[in-house]
């Protein structure tokens, strides 16, 4: 029991939050939601440029789709106005639908690409759509004590 707890603590200590990087909004095209694709220097050693850029560009495309003004959005707007906006009680807006897609995408990206590299993306909606927050975790176990990793492997062997 004591050794297991000890291993859990080792695990906890093995991934501690080191830093957070904030990708700011790109306002060069107006007030529509876009994030800067500039690669932050803190991530240079953690993830490839192409993967990062693809994530941000896909997110930007999602937001552009949500805020797109075209036939469907006009229809939704007019219908909502005609029903005195009561229709929003039953139906969710297009924006909300796209936000759900975005949440799924971010989760998928975290699981497949970012978490294995010790990174974690926070959905911008949780930060008021101001920033994409990427948390950087330091893997202490790999850099430091071999005892930590050996005890972890010991517990999994059990």
């Amino acid at each position: 029991m004591a050794t297991e707890f000890h291993n859990l603590q080792e695990l906890r200590h093995s991934a501690s939050l080191a830093n957070k990087v904030f990708i700011q909004r790109d306002y060069s095209e107006g007030t529509t939601c876009r994030f800067q694709t500039k690669f932050p220097s803190e991530l240079e050693s953690r993830i490839e440029l192409t993967l990062f850029e693809e994530t941000v560009k896909t997110l930007n495309n999602f937001y552009a789709e949500a805020e797109k003004i075209g036939g469907q959005s006009y229809l939704e707007g007019c219908l909502a106005c005609a029903t005195a906006y009561l229709i929003f009680l039953c139906m969710e807006t297009r924006y909300e639908k796209v936000l759900k897609k975005i949440a799924k995408y971010i989760q998928e990206q975290n699981e497949k690409i970012y978490a294995p590299r010790g990174l974690l993306i926070t959905d911008p909606i949780e930060r008021g759509m101001r920033v994409i927050e990427i948390s950087i975790y330091e893997d202490r176990g790999s850099s430091g004590s071999s005892s930590g990793s050996s005890s972890v492997s010991g517990s999994t062997a059990r």
Partner: protein, 457 residues
């Protein structure tokens, strides 16, 4: 020690620790319901119906609006409609009724919805911004108060101002409402008649409200006059309806016309009053947000997609509370002049950390004085000399984490728990402030307002 005494001691110890770590929960209630985010909202808003309804603090004029509309329409339906339905056509009361309901619906929608409030920066964001500003300015210690960032939008240079209350660079067209103490996206104006700010999320409802109200007042005015003329008889109710409508027509129709102009040129009231895009400012000054086409502008404003609320009023605050009672994020930092306030402000980044998020002393403060002072405070007093926040490159040794660590199991879960409308997760730091800024000293409020006024010029 006798075993009884030891266990007693242990019990006492565990009770105390529960109390100190979760001051919101009483010790005997293990399953207290979690507080919702609207209960700890840092702005000066009032919430009703468990966070579904959001209004400004002063709502007296809103009730006046309601009373005026209800009484006038009531009198119209009681005294004029029976006569007009008989003499002319029953369509009149039906049309009047529909118009009245639409007016009421849009008014309530405008008043009760979130105008597009920008949530305040989390402590990490604020610290990161501070660091960037210090790097950009290259000054040591003293922070020059005005902070602006220039952005080129569609060829036009726009200045983004830093909001000291919300600790963010305001997006273009956003403005800080001093009455509600919030930054609001695409801020139009604060309307006391609807008891709320008018911003990105409720501008179309506001416009539909004043437009339909114009039609309603003209409608009532016209038919009451008709009634009077047809009957040569002035019931008391009629007179009142005539008077209200007469004055309302000019003001409300005028207001509708003004907002129609604003919509067709894609400006906010704020921008029009300041003359931001007026050609008088400069030959090349133009509105970068306008599409150039009146019809397109109207469609964008009225039929564009409705963005979601960013403040998640009814989401739950994470239960774990910090040890010390934190001042809210409403504490602003006025350069380096107010040492006490910078003290309190410095304490906010750590004190609002939840247990699921480790404390971060953000990396590399290049200039020595301010950040280490902040860091020393966060230790809770005695270890003032501890050299936290060393200017190390971020990728090297992790900064000192003081409280809990996020387990790797916990790490991927927050995005997984995300779903639209109520994201749980670690977005709770800002909202977990326990004191309404209004309860802070009035000096702070006045200075915030003063700062806001300065910055809005």
């Amino acid at each position: 020690f006798p075993p009884g005494k030891a266990s007693m001691r242990e019990c006492e110890y565990s009770q105390i620790s529960t109390r100190s770590s979760t001051p919101m929960e009483t010790p005997y209630k293990k399953r207290t319901p979690k507080r919702k985010k609207w209960e700890a909202f840092p702005g000066r808003n009032k919430f009703y119906c468990d966070g579904r309804i959001m209004m400004a603090k002063q709502t007296g004029v809103f009730y006046l609006t309601l009373v005026l509309i209800l009484v006038t329409c009531g009198l119209f339906f009681t005294f004029d409609c029976p006569f007009l339905a008989q003499e002319l056509t029953p369509i009149i009361p039906v049309l009047g009724g529909a118009l009245f309901l639409f007016v009421l619906g849009t008014l309530l929608r405008t008043s009760f919805s979130d105008p597009g409030v920008l949530p305040r920066a989390t402590p990490d964001e604020a610290a990161d911004l501070e660091r960037q500003i210090d790097v950009a300015n290259g000054t040591t210690g003293y922070r020059p108060p005005p902070r602006t960032k220039e952005v080129v939008i569609n060829g036009q240079t726009v200045k983004l101002k830093y909001c000291f209350t919300c600790k963010i660079f305001r997006p273009p067209r956003a403005s800080h409402c001093s009455l509600c103490d919030n930054c609001v996206e695409r801020f139009d104006h604060h309307c006391p008649w609807v008891g709320n700010c008018v911003g990105r999320r409720n501008y179309r409802f506001f416009y539909m409200f004043i437009l339909s109200l114009s039609f309603l007042t003209i409608f009532i005015f016209a038919f009451v006059i008709t009634h009077i003329i047809l009957k040569y008889f002035k019931p008391a109710g009629c007179k009142w309806a005539v008077v209200v409508c007469f004055f309302s027509v000019w003001s409300i129709v005028g207001l509708s016309g003004f907002h129609t102009y604003l919509i067709s040129s894609n400006q906010t009231t704020n921008e029009d009053i300041k003359g931001s895009w007026s050609s008088k400012r400069g030959k090349d000054n133009y509105n970068p947000y306008s599409s150039g086409n009146i019809f397109t502008n109207c469609c964008m404003a009225l039929c564009g997609p409705l963005p979601p609320s960013l403040i998640d009023r009814r989401g739950f605050i994470e239960a774990d509370a910090p040890q010390m009672a934190p001042p809210t994020n409403g504490i602003t930092m006025y350069g380096a002049t107010h040492s006490q306030q910078s003290h309190m402000a410095a304490a906010t980044p750590l004190l609002q950390q939840q247990s699921s998020e480790p404390v971060i002393i953000t990396s590399s403060p290049e200039n020595g004085t301010s950040l280490p002072a902040r860091a020393s405070l966060t230790l809770g007093g005695p270890c003032t000399s501890l050299p936290l926040g060393q200017p190390t490159p971020p990728t090297s040794t992790p900064s000192l984490t003081l409280h809990h660590y996020l387990t790797p199991e916990e790490v991927p879960s927050p995005p997984g728990m995300l779903h639209c409308g109520s994201p749980l997760g670690h977005s709770h730091t800002v909202q977990a402030s326990f004191y309404n800024p209004a309860s802070q000293d009035s000096l702070h409020e006045d200075s915030v307002r003063g700062l806001v006024k300065l910055s809005s010029v």
